[in-house]
C-alpha cells in the first residue's frame, strides 16, 4: 500500500513554477531520499505534503486521503524535522515535548519521551530552558518532538545538519529504529552519504521536476557508465595496460600509482572473466575489487546533465522562431 501518492503536483508562485507536475509514489514502510539542488522544489513539495502550502494544481494523498491544512487525522500520524527548526524558547525541553505530545494525543507520551531523551542523551537537560540549548541540542529536541507520537510517516528535511558526529550516530540510530518499527521515512538532505545510508530509494528533483527516481543500486548502474574494476599486481609487466585494453568488454584502462582501473561495459560482472585472463597471462593479482559509483557522483552527474538540459532548453527558447 502506498503511504504517499502525488498526482501532477504543481505549485506556482506568480509565473514561477516551483513544482512542476510531480508524481511520487512512496510505499508504506519505505525510506525515501528526496534530493535536489537548492531551489529545486524539495521544501515546497514537502510543504504541500504537509498541507502547509496549497497546490496550484494536482493532489497529494497520504494513506489514500487527500491532504489539506485541516487534515487533522492525517497530520497526527506525521512527524516532521524541518531544516530550520524553531522552538518556544521560554519552555523547558520537557514542557515543549509534552506540549506536542498532547497536541498529537500521543499514547504513553511520558514513557516514550523519556526513552527518546535518553536515546539522544538529552535527559539531563530536560528541565532546562530551550533558550539555553545549543544548535545540536535543539536539533535533537526537534527529533524528540517529531517522534514522541510514534508517527507512521516521518518527514526529515536536512535531518543531520548542525549535528556533531556523535549526534549524527544517535540520530541515525533513531531513524533505524523508526524504520524497523515500520515508519515511512522521507529524507531530504544535502549530506548524500546520509541519504545513501538510510534510504531504500531516492528521487532527484530539479527545477520542480522529478528527473530520476529509483533504488540506489539501479541509479548507480544507470548513471555510472559501466562498471569499474580495480587491480593491484605483484608482478606487473609494462604491456599489461595494452593487453587489458584489447579485451572486447573493456572500454578504458588507466593506472594511478600501483592501482589499475578497468572500465567495463557493465553488461555483467566481469570479475571472473578478468580473473581467468590474469591467470592465463601469469599475472598475480594482490587485490581485485568492484568500484561502486557513489550517490554523490550520481547526484553530481545527474545535476550536471539536468543543468545542461535546462541550458539547452533555455537556449532553444531564446532562438526566435521564423
Amino acid at each position: 500500500m502506498s503511504m504517499i501518492v502525488t498526482s501532477d503536483l504543481t505549485k506556482k508562485f506568480g509565473a514561477f513554477k516551483a513544482v512542476d507536475g510531480l508524481n511520487l509514489r512512496i510505499a508504506q514502510g519505505e525510506s525515501y531520499g528526496f534530493l535536489g539542488p537548492n531551489g529545486a522544489g524539495k521544501t515546497t513539495t514537502l510543504s504541500m505534503l504537509l498541507g502547509i502550502l496549497t497546490p496550484t494544481s494536482g493532489m497529494v494523498f497520504i494513506q489514500g486521503e487527500q491532504v489539506r491544512s485541516d487534515s487533522f487525522s492525517l497530520k497526527r500520524k506525521i512527524g516532521v524535522v524541518a531544516e530550520y527548526q524553531t522552538f518556544y524558547e521560554n519552555m523547558t525541553a520537557w514542557e515543549y515535548v509534552m506540549f506536542f505530545a498532547r497536541l498529537y494525543q500521543a499514547a504513553n507520551a511520558e514513557k516514550r519521551a523519556e526513552m527518546l531523551f535518553e536515546q539522544v542523551n538529552l535527559m539531563q537537560w530536560k528541565d532546562a530552558l530551550i533558550s539555553a540549548f545549543s544548535t545540536g541540542m535543539k536539533k535533537k529536541l526537534g527529533f524528540i518532538r517529531a517522534l514522541v507520537h510514534s508517527p507512521d510517516l516521518l518527514i526529515l528535511d536536512e535531518p543531520v545538519s548542525g549535528l556533531d558526529p556523535f549526534g549524527i550516530i544517535q540520530v541515525r540510530s533513531l531513524l533505524m529504529t523508526e524504520k524497523a518499527r515500520g515508519a515511512t521515512l522521507i529524507i531530504s538532505s544535502h549530506i548524500l552519504s546520509e541519504v545513501e545510508k538510510t534510504t531504500d530509494r531516492v528521487g532527484i528533483i530539479s527545477r520542480g521536476k522529478l528527473i530520476l527516481e529509483d533504488t540506489i543500486d539501479n541509479i548507480q548502474r544507470k548513471v555510472g557508465d559501466g562498471e569499474r574494476i580495480l587491480f593491484r599486481f605483484a608482478n606487473q609487466t609494462p604491456d599489461i595496460l595494452g593487453k587489458l585494453s584489447s579485451l572486447p568488454f573493456v572500454i578504458q584502462v588507466s593506472q594511478e600509482e600501483d592501482e589499475i582501473s578497468v572500465l567495463t561495459d557493465g553488461a555483467k560482472d566481469y570479475r571472473e572473466d578478468l580473473g581467468r585472463y590474469l591467470v592465463q597471462n601469469e599475472w598475480i593479482p594482490l587485490e581485485m575489487k568492484k568500484h561502486q559509483t557513489s550517490l554523490e557522483e550520481v547526484y553530481i552527474t545527474i545535476s550536471e546533465q539536468s543543468l545542461r538540459t535546462i541550458q539547452e532548453d533555455l537556449e532553444t527558447e531564446d532562438v526566435p522562431s521564423d
Binding site: Q124, W125, D127
Partner: protein, 443 residues
C-alpha cells in the same frame, strides 16, 4: 513583500474613498440646508408630560413624535429655513416668514385615513408661578375667549399698575410734605402717610391666538399629510408620526444638604443609592415623575436629534408630592417622618452660608421647599414614601449609605496585591526551571 506592497495602496485607496464619500455627503447635506426659498415645515406645540413645549419639524426630517392620549398641536407653516452650524441643525426663521398653510390634516394608519382634523384656533396659558400645575390648552371658541380674557387681564393689570404708580407718586409727595411737618414738630411719626399696597405681578402667560391642528391619538405609528383646500396634498407634508405612551410613573427626590442647599442632587431612579457622610442631615423633596423612552421623548422635543437612544429611558418630573410620610428602615428599626415646609435663610458675616429652618406658617416668608429631614446616623438606611392611607408610592424606595471616606486610601494598597502574586509566580517558575538545570548537572 511584493504582495504586501500591493495590499497597502488598495487599503489606503478604500479609506480615502470612504473619506471622500463622507465629505461629499456632508457638503451635500450642508448645501441642502442653505435654502433661500420658503419651505413647508411642521411646528408642534406638544404636551411633554408636564407642560407644553414646541418643536420644529423641517423638511429633512421624516418622522415626528407626540405623547398619546393628550392633545398636542401640529401646525403646517411656510417659512425660511437656515442651517445652524453650532448644533448642526436646521432652524426656522419665524420672524422672516410664518405663513399658516390652510387645509386639513389627515391622519393615516396602514395607508387608510382614520381622522381628518380641521384647522383650529388655540391658545396655551399657564401661571408662571406654578407652570406644572396650571398649564392649559384652549381650543376653538374657548381659545378666543381665553385670549380675550388674558388681554382683559393685561389691560386691567396695566390700568392697576398705572393707578398704583399714581398712588405711589402721590404718596411720595405727601410723604415729603409730612416729613417737613414732622421736622417742624407739627406732627408725630405715627401721622406719616402709609405707602400704597404694591401691585401684584401678572403671572399668567398666554400665547397669541394661533392656528393649528389639535391631535389626540392613542399609541401607534401613523402617517400625516396636509390636504389643501383645492384637494391636493401639500408637497413635503407627508410624514411619519409616532405616538407613544409613558412607561411608568414614580417618585423622584431632590436631595438637599444644609451646607450646599443651592446644589441639590436629584435621585430619579429607584436603584440609585444616596451616599452621604456619617452625622450629616439631609432633606428629601419628593416629586412625581413620569418615564418615557429616551429616543421618543428627545425627538418629541427635537425631531432632528441624533444622539438619543432607543434602549434608554428618561424620567420627567411633573408635580411635587404633598401630604405623604417617609418611612425609614435602618438596623432593624422603622420610623415614619412627616413632611414639613422649610425656609432657607442665608447667613451673613462670619457664618456665611445657609440655614434650613422649618417654615413658620405665620411668617411673611415663602416656603422654600417641602420635604423630609433625615439624620444620617446608620451605615445603611432604606426609605420609601407612603400616602396618608399607609400605601407605598410606587418607585419611591431608595437606599442611603454612609461612605467610609477615611478608609479610601486602602483601595490603593489593595491594587498592589497582584504584584505580590506576580512575584510569587515568577519565583516559582524560576525555581522549577533552575532545579531542572541542577538536576541536569547532577545527571
Amino acid at each position: 513583500m511584493i504582495a504586501r506592497m500591493d495590499i497597502r495602496p488598495a487599503w489606503m485607496r478604500r479609506v480615502f474613498l470612504l473619506i471622500i464619500v463622507i465629505v461629499i455627503m456632508a457638503v451635500a447635506a450642508y448645501s441642502v440646508a442653505a435654502q433661500e426659498e420658503l419651505t413647508f415645515v411642521y411646528g408642534t406645540n406638544h404636551f411633554n408630560g408636564a407642560v407644553f413645549s414646541s418643536a420644529f419639524v423641517p423638511d429633512s426630517v421624516d418622522t415626528f413624535y407626540l405623547i398619546s392620549d393628550h392633545i398636542s398641536i401640529v401646525a403646517g407653516r411656510l417659512t425660511r429655513v437656515y442651517y445652524w452650524p453650532l448644533t448642526n441643525e436646521l432652524k426656522p426663521d419665524w420672524d422672516e416668514a410664518n405663513i399658516v398653510v390652510e387645509g386639513e390634516l389627515e391622519i393615516l394608519e396602514n395607508d387608510r385615513i382614520i381622522q381628518t382634523i380641521a384647522l383650529t384656533d388655540y391658545v396655551i396659558q399657564y401661571d408662571a408661578r406654578d407652570r406644572f400645575g396650571t398649564t392649559e390648552l384652549f381650543l376653538g371658541d374657548a381659545a378666543v375667549v381665553a385670549r380675550q380674557n388674558f388681554e382683559d387681564l393685561q389691560k386691567q393689570y396695566r390700568e392697576d399698575l398705572a393707578a398704583y404708580f399714581q398712588e405711589l407718586n402721590n404718596y411720595r409727595q405727601a410723604f415729603q410734605a409730612a416729613l417737613a411737618e414732622l421736622q417742624a414738630g407739627n406732627i408725630t411719626e405715627d401721622e406719616l402717610p402709609e405707602p400704597p399696597e404694591a401691585q401684584e405681578d401678572l403671572s399668567l402667560f398666554s400665547t397669541d391666538l394661533l392656528m393649528g391642528f389639535p391631535v389626540n391619538l392613542p399609541d401607534g405609528n401613523y402617517t400625516v399629510q396636509l390636504r389643501l383646500p383645492d384637494g391636493s396634498i401639500q408637497p413635503n407634508s407627508r410624514k411619519r408620526l409616532v405616538v407613544f405612551s409613558p412607561i411608568q410613573e414614580g417618585i423622584g427626590y431632590n436631595v438637599i444638604t444644609e451646607e450646599r442647599w443651592t446644589v441639590p442632587e436629584e435621585s430619579k431612579e429607584a436603584n440609585q443609592i444616596i451616599y452621604s457622610l456619617s452625622g450629616k442631615k439631609m432633606y428629601l423633596e419628593p416629586f412625581y415623575q413620569i418615564q418615557f423612552n429616551e429616543l421618543f421623548y428627545t425627538r418629541l422635543n427635537n425631531p432632528q436629534d441624533t444622539q438619543a437612544r432607543r434602549d434608554r429611558n428618561v424620567w420627567i418630573p411633573f408635580e411635587y408630592v404633598k401630604d405623604v410620610m417617609l418611612e425609614v428602615n435602618s438596623a432593624g428599626s422603622s420610623k415614619q417622618i412627616a413632611m414639613e415646609n422649610y425656609f432657607v435663610r442665608q447667613l451673613t458675616g462670619s457664618a456665611l452660608g445657609y440655614e434650613i429652618m422649618i417654615h413658620n406658617p405665620g411668617s411673611d416668608r415663602d416656603v422654600t421647599f417641602s420635604g423630609f429631614a433625615i439624620d444620617v446616623d446608620s451605615p445603611e438606611m432604606h426609605i420609601e414614601v407612603v400616602d396618608s392611607g399607609g400605601n407605598l408610592l410606587q418607585y419611591s424606595q431608595r437606599e442611603i449609605r454612609v461612605l467610609n471616606t477615611s478608609r479610601s486610601i486602602w483601595v490603593y494598597v489593595l491594587s498592589g496585591l497582584p504584584l505580590l502574586g506576580g512575584v510569587a509566580a515568577v519565583l516559582m517558575r524560576r525555581r522549577s526551571v533552575d532545579s531542572g538545570n541542577l538536576n541536569g548537572q547532577k545527571g
